[in-house]
Symmetry: C2
Subunit: 246 residues, 2 copies
């Protein structure tokens, strides 16, 4: 083991396994970022993480004009599990969906689930872009894992996949719900999903099965009408404050 | 009084006093929005508010090709005071400052105060654009008032203007603070400001006077590094959840 070192400010998410002595070949865009954007040279240190093996210090060896090798040296932090909170959301248009993924990742969400509801105005989700946004936010926020991004599902598929081992708090814009501070009482230890509909809200045909779920609670978000992305972030921030690590 | 009517979905913030029988001349951009974008015609209803007189129903009379008159009919909601929470923030670059103003307005902030701190990377704030964003968010979120936007002040001016009648919760990225859930105990009834520094955080020379203020508390925001705009929104959402109307 090397002596304790300060964690490098530049963090990279990588796929490869991490262990002392490993050599990594960063992707072309990562090598470009390290060498051309951040102007790192031979021996400069970065932090790398893969969501499994914790965070490691690695040093750079430039190769040719465009590529590089990272030499993994020592473990900076062991892997730890974050709060078990998922965000299910009706996809919204850019730039709001990008903002949503960035902020949700910063807020420590474990998994993002796009749900195509009745009034969802977006018919295609660019999962590659969502994933790139989530990785960038994880790198910058110091997370040890990148939020998983599920394939989009229909509302019916989403509800069919729910179960009592994970509580569901869904934003009810009709005002029938209760604040999360009340809804969560007695359930703070349970993994949870928060679920937010599109700008047009949930349809009556969607609200009925949600109300029928024993492990789901309709939550209200105060007297103002929130945009869908704002509602998602408020619910995540509230859950992390009341039951998570904020 | 007309019989009770459903509140029109289109809301306009206006400067003029509102009373039954008043006639308003919307600005050119508002008339364009009503006639060309929303395609309203003679007799169609909108809601108007000015931050003082509550929300009123008004009907449209087109005038010529481009302008219009609004006839104020009946009061839909009386004016009420919202939670007394201010956001002081180090300005950040677009698009993050636009998101910040939009979301803070949706979250019910009463006043926005740009503070030029030591590590603030923006040297000019477009107050007209911030105000336009705040108005649009107030219109869409159903608020009865538009957040005030203060002229930018230096850090020293900001601190000199603070007093014990308004609590201050400032985001301390060093990890020395306590969660707002603890910091606010015993002070939920007091008006408050939340204060968030720039990406580079507060300088040591800034942290010292903040720590010395009897009515200020350093607050932590969990184990992840949050962007400045995320930190502001989280603190606002937390305060509104714990002491406000969320």
């Amino acid at each position: 083991m090397s002596p304790p070192t300060q964690s490098p400010k530049i963090r990279l998410y990588v796929d490869a396994d991490l262990a002392s002595g490993a050599e990594l070949a960063p992707r072309d865009d990562q090598a470009h970022y390290l060498r051309r954007v951040m102007r790192l040279g031979a021996g400069d240190a970065v932090a790398v993480f893969n969501g499994r093996d914790g965070e490691w210090r690695a040093t750079l060896s430039p190769r040719g004009k465009r590529s590089a090798v990272l030499h993994v040296e020592c473990c900076l932090r062991g892997q730890t599990a974050g709060p078990d909170i998922w965000l299910a959301f009706a996809p919204v248009k850019r730039p709001h969906i990008d903002f949503l993924v960035e902020k949700a990742s910063e807020l420590g969400v474990a998994r993002l689930v796009p749900v195509m509801t009745r009034f969802t105005m977006v018919d295609r989700v660019n999962l590659d872009r969502l994933r790139a946004n989530a990785i960038e936010a994880a790198e910058q926020s110091g997370r040890l894992a990148v939020p998983g991004i599920a394939d989009p599902v229909s509302f019916d598929e989403f509800v069919a996949g729910l179960g009592p081992d994970r509580g569901l708090y869904w934003g009810d814009e009709t005002g029938d719900g209760v604040p999360l501070t009340s809804a969560i009482t007695g359930h703070k230890e349970r993994p949870a999903s928060v679920f937010v509909g599109p700008e047009g809200g949930f349809s009556d045909a969607e609200r009925t099965p949600l109300h029928a779920l024993e492990f789901a609670r309709a939550v209200s978000l105060g007297p103002r009408i929130l945009r869908a992305d704002t509602a998602a972030l408020v619910l995540l921030a509230q859950w992390q404050t009341l039951a998570g690590d904020l």
